[in-house]
Structures are given as C-alpha cells and as structure tokens.
C-alpha cells in the first residue's frame, strides 16, 4: 500500500473513478456538489471584510455567498494539503516559478510568467463566477447530474482554453 501511495502517477481512469465516487459521497454526506470557485468567493469576501468591515455583507453578491469559513471554503486548503501530501509521498514536491513548457516558449522571465498567471487568474475568477462554476463544479459534478447548463459551460471552458492555448503555443498537430 505504501508503495502504491508513493507512485508519482496513478492511471487517469483510476483517479477519475475515485473522483466520481468522491462527488457522490459529497452529495450524500454534505448535500453539495464538489466545486472550487465558490471557495475563492468566500476567501475574497473574508479578506474584504478585514479591510472594509462588515458593510461588505450588504453587497448583493456576498448576500448570495456570505463570507464565512464553511464547507466550500475548506475545500481549497484541503486541496492544497492533499496535493502536498501526494507530492511529498512520491518525492515529486518541488518549488518552482516557471513551468518548463512555459520557459521553452516564452523564456525564463519570472515577471512575465507571473503577469500572465495573474491575468489568467483574473479571467478565470470572473469567468467561473459568471458561469456559476468551474471545471469541477460544472465539468464533473454538474455533468454527472445531467445539468444542461453545466455541460454547456464545460464545453465552453475547453473551447476557450483550446483557443488560448493555440494562440500562445501554435497548433501542435
């Protein structure tokens, strides 16, 4: 078992099957689909509350998603811890700023990578909340509940993502 947990990679099918079961378990035990972008709204709301006080709870969006340390927020630190454990167990944990593939295409400027990452993150944050979910919330949890809106969103995530990837890296076929 230890050897298995220490493997750097598992079959994507095994991982997918486990995630499918995990989403079902979350629907039973927590009555919630697993999603990540709401957690970011909660973190953002709590951070705003520290700087601007409780008045931010009056904002229309934060009335809908009240800033609080709750199930949805805890998913985020949970993922960080889980990925940390997995990478430490397999000895693949390592600090870096520029992913090798990015460096190959755009060089080794950390500033350029961080600017692009922040810009990409801003679009992701706006887009995820605009669409009402992200790759896990719509792409997996919503799709398996046969939600039309979720499947449509997931298709657009990939359409936009493929377009941007090909703008940046060219067509690899």
């Amino acid at each position: 078992m230890n050897g298995f947990l220490a493997l750097p990679l598992w079959s994507p099918y095994l991982v997918g099957v486990c995630i499918g079961l995990l989403v079902c378990l979350a629907l039973v035990l927590s009555d919630r689909p697993i999603g990540c972008s709401t957690g970011f709204v909660k973190i953002r709301g709590l951070a705003e509350q520290i700087f601007r006080g409780k008045q931010i709870q009056e904002k229309e969006y934060y009335k809908k998603f009240p800033p609080a340390i709750d199930w949805q927020l805890m998913i985020i630190p949970g993922i960080i811890i889980g990925a940390f454990l997995s990478s430490v167990l397999s000895g693949t944990f390592g600090l870096f700023i520029i992913p090798p593939l990015w460096a190959e295409q755009f060089g080794s400027s950390a500033v350029l990578r961080i600017i692009a990452a922040i810009a990409g993150g801003i679009l992701l944050g706006i887009g995820a909340r605009w669409a009402g979910g992200c790759t896990s919330g719509h792409g997996i949890s919503g799709s398996l509940q046969l939600s039309v809106g979720s499947i449509l969103s997931a298709a657009c995530f990939f359409a936009g993502g493929i377009a941007m990837a090909m703008i940046l890296f060219g067509v690899h076929w």
Binding site: L29, G78, S86, A117, G120, G132, Q145, S147, A165
Partner: protein
C-alpha cells in the same frame, strides 16, 4: 445520526469540506492534473489525461448519482442554464484557463506541490477576478446573466427521454470515446 442533521451540523460540514478537499487534491495530484504541462497538453490536444480523468469521473458519477437519487440519498443540484451565463462566462473562463494553465481546483493543487506561479500568480489573480465579478454582479444579473434561458434543466428533460436511458447512453458513449482515444494512441 441521520443525513439531514449531518447536513445542518456546521462544524461537521467544515471538517467534511476539508476532508473532501484533501482527498480531491490528493487524487488530482496523483492523476497529474495539477501539472501545468499536463493541462496545457490537454488544451493543445496532445495529452488527454485531463479528459480521461473527467470522463471516467462523470461515467461513474452518472450511475452512482442516478441510484443514490432514486433511493433518496442524494438531491439533484441543478440550476436553469442561460446562454448569457454558461456560454459567455464559460468562454471567459476558458481564455483564463489557457493563459494560466490551471483551473480553480488544480491551481490549489499546484500550490500544494510547490508551483509558485500558481500561488503568487493564479491564486491571487482568481481572488482579484472574483472580487471584480462581485462588483459587476448586480448590473450583470439584471441583463446578460439571464439572457437566453434554456427552459429544460436536465439532459433527459431536454431530449424527452427517460433518465435511465440517458445515463446508460452517456456511460456507453464515454466508455466508447475513451476506448477510441486509447486506440488512436492518446
């Protein structure tokens, strides 16, 4: 303890959220989905790891949720879709997905395995992005977000077919698709 009281037990749910997150993050990392190269490989259509993970999760979840829902253990969480929200938001998300090379879940996983571009770039960017959205939400909500309502919430309602048939067809379709991917050498 019955499920209803578990659902309303705040501290139990905070703990469960953390546990679900830990297992989810562990699985994403073991699957390779927290790596920039794997995600960009998917978007460049050279590495299908992300689609394999998502499609097999959906196939298992389709059956699992269908049964759990029928026997009353899981409620369906589905909202009405709109073109203005799902398509426009989805495309904005996609552009960010390709530029950052992580999505909101995998960016957290990438942070856990040591990716500092995910932490000081992606994580911070998403927090700025959701703040911008919270600010523009009131005006968007009255206009674009509700534009182009899709009257049917679920695929089986849309197609006018029994749910079990759509679940079965969906599973078979996913298995055939994954088989063809392997045969094609991906």
């Amino acid at each position: 303890m019955d499920l209803k009281s578990l659902h309303t037990n705040r501290s139990a749910q905070v703990l469960l959220g953390l546990l679900f997150g830990i297992v989810f993050g562990f699985l994403l990392q073991k699957g390779g989905a927290t790596s920039y190269e794997v995600i960009m490989g998917q978007l460049l259509l050279t590495d299908f790891t992300v689609v394999k993970i998502m499609a097999s999760a959906v196939a298992v979840g389709l059956v699992g949720f269908f049964i759990l829902n029928r026997i009353g253990y899981a409620r369906r969480h589905v909202r009405e879709g709109t073109i203005g929200s799902n398509v426009v938001g989805g495309l904005i998300f996609g552009l960010g997905f390709g530029l950052l090379g992580y999505c909101p879940g995998t960016v957290a996983g990438a942070v856990g395995q040591g990716a500092l571009d995910a932490l000081i770039g992606g994580f911070v960017g998403i927090l700025i992005g959701v703040g911008i959205f919270a600010r523009i939400y009131p005006s968007l909500n009255r206009t674009l977000l509700t534009y182009g309502r899709i009257k049917k919430e679920t695929v089986h309602e849309l197609l006018g077919l029994p749910e079990w048939l759509v679940v079965l067809a969906g599973c078979i379709g996913i298995v055939v698709f994954l088989y063809l991917l392997e045969v094609a050498g991906f």
